[in-house]
């Protein structure tokens, strides 16, 4: 042990910072990958039960090893690069999808103290990173030199740009209500129990944020970018093996991120829902904040799957209409409402 401490002190300071940061990153990314793997399993099981099937049940007890078997299979498959494809960009595109999805976790507060980088402009950072995810999809579609791929890329680019604006405006509402861009302080601004969380005063923004999040991750019912019935698999039609798996990981990591962010912005993050309630409040005070955060995130993660099992796919022009003509005007109006309520300290939420 002393030897290890001596070794650590011998490392130059700059390198120490680097190593320590890398360790923290691994501590976030490794569990994330595990959650992604079992999220795919949960998806297949839940949608299976919704459709009166059993879902995967062969590999391991009750199919628990299915995601591992899938991962191993994908790792050993050949990555086929299409002829006349832009090889470098073709292989680079999956990284551009998964990179921002994982980097956004850097500012995410898991509890009051547990956050990798507690920066003031956390909300802006989240917005900036989520706007970068679209590159991976456009580049994948273009670089694979395939008409289906390119059509999927164009569709998803237009869709993501449209819904990003609605998402951004919804977050402006959150920022006005909380009066800060720091994610931890946004959570603390909602303290006071279930009815003080932002979902109630910002109800339209809450719904719009989550629906736009579903559209932003190209999930059903907004999954025209990979619409199987028209363009087979859209932007990742030419991908196989691990390159395809990375797209998949990115998509699921993004879904988890959107769920966690919705819980953070509108459902009070790590806060106890019964805070300040007569009996339930003290009875649940021992539950750590991280558990509440996981439960809330789980609800939204389940909604993603429920949507996919329930809703038919939107028609493309209706997706665009919903984004531009419905969501954006509603968010603008509600930002005004929230601003007036905050400035004039309107009850019941902004009495101080």
């Amino acid at each position: 042990m002393e030897f290890l401490v001596g070794l650590w002190n011998a490392v130059p300071e700059g390198l120490q910072v680097l190593i320590w940061t890398l360790v923290k990153i691994v501590a976030i990314v490794a569990p994330m990958m595990l959650v992604v793997a079992y999220y795919t399993y949960a998806e297949r099981k839940i949608i299976g039960y919704m459709q009166v099937r059993i879902g995967p049940n062969r590999v391991g007890p009750k199919g628990w090893l299915q995601p591992i078997a899938d991962a191993v299979k994908l790792m050993f498959k050949e990555i086929v690069v299409p002829s006349n494809a832009n090889r470098a960009l073709f292989l680079f595109a999956p990284l551009l999808v998964i990179g921002p999805a994982l980097a956004a976790w850097a500012v995410f507060p898991f509890s009051a103290e547990l956050v990798l980088a507690d920066i003031n402009a956390g909300l802006l950072y989240i917005l900036a990173l989520s706007s970068m995810g679209v590159y991976g999809i456009i580049i994948a579609g273009w670089a694979s030199n395939s008409k289906y791929g390119f059509l999927g890329a164009m569709r998803s680019a237009a869709q993501m740009v449209a819904y990003e604006i609605a998402m951004g405006f919804a977050l402006v509402g959150v920022l006005v209500a909380a009066g800060t861009l720091n994610l931890g302080q946004i959570v603390l601004a909602q303290s006071g129990g279930l009815l003080h969380w932002f979902w109630l005063p910002l109800l339209p923004l809450f719904l719009i944020y989550f629906i736009s999040g579903v559209a932003e991750t190209n999930r059903a019912p907004f999954d025209v970018a990979e619409g199987e019935s028209e363009i087979v698999a859209g932007f990742h039609i030419e991908y196989s093996g691990m390159a395809f798996a990375v797209f998949f990981l990115g998509e699921y990591a993004n879904m988890i991120l959107i769920s966690a962010l919705t819980a953070l912005f509108f459902w009070g993050g790590w806060l106890n829902p019964f805070e300040g309630w007569p009996v339930l409040g003290p009875a649940t005070a021992w539950v750590p904040g991280f558990v509440w955060l996981c439960l809330k995130t789980g609800v939204f993660m389940f909604l993603f799957l429920w949507f996919r099992a329930t809703f038919p796919r939107y028609r493309y022009d209706q997706i665009m209409r919903l984004g531009w003509k419905v969501f954006i005007p509603i968010t603008i109006v509600w930002i005004l409402v929230v601003a007036v309520a905050v400035v004039y300290r309107l009850p019941p939420w902004w009495v101080s």
């Binding site: 960009l89 003031n120 402009a121 456009i138 990003e164």
Partner: protein, 204 residues
Amino acid sequence: MSFEKVLFYLFAAVLVTASVMVVTRRNPVHAALFLVLAFFSSAVIWMLAEAEFLAITLVLVYVGAVMVLFLFVVMMLDVDVAALRAGFIRYLPVGVVVAVIMAAELVLVVGPRHFGLGQYAAPAAKAADYSNTETLGAALYTAYLYPFEIAGAILLVAIVAAIRLTLRRRPGTRYVDPSQQVHVKRADRVRLVKLAPEQKLEHK
């Protein structure tokens, strides 16, 4: 060398390389992607200068929105690269003149005579709870309220004008009103026809 300094030189090198690539790559999509990389590296350098709001806004606006649309257009255009390269020698003198003038202007403005640590003291590092965003917002909405609002109005007019100029109404398009679509009833679409088994068709 401190960690920040390493980061600065790393991203400065990436920025310069990416900018050179933007003008030298033959493939316009590659050039656009290198421009994205250049924006991103300069955002990191701004971040090192503690201008976090500007840095993140640069990524949000230029990388996240402007360049996506740019890439969108560049990918859809079928650019003939050979035709683009044809005028290289012919336009080279003009390009060199413009480049030299711009470089000279830059040296005049930010050269050692007017700029650098000799003229201005290095700004003191701000406390950890100092919010760049708040300071900028306060300045924009108090001291510079009129210029800010006028700029906003001009941009709004520009948006409306651009939409008006490109809007064309095509008479032949078929459009279904979404509310009509939502309010459709079963009776509007479904007609039940009763067919008795082995019904004899009468020919008239």
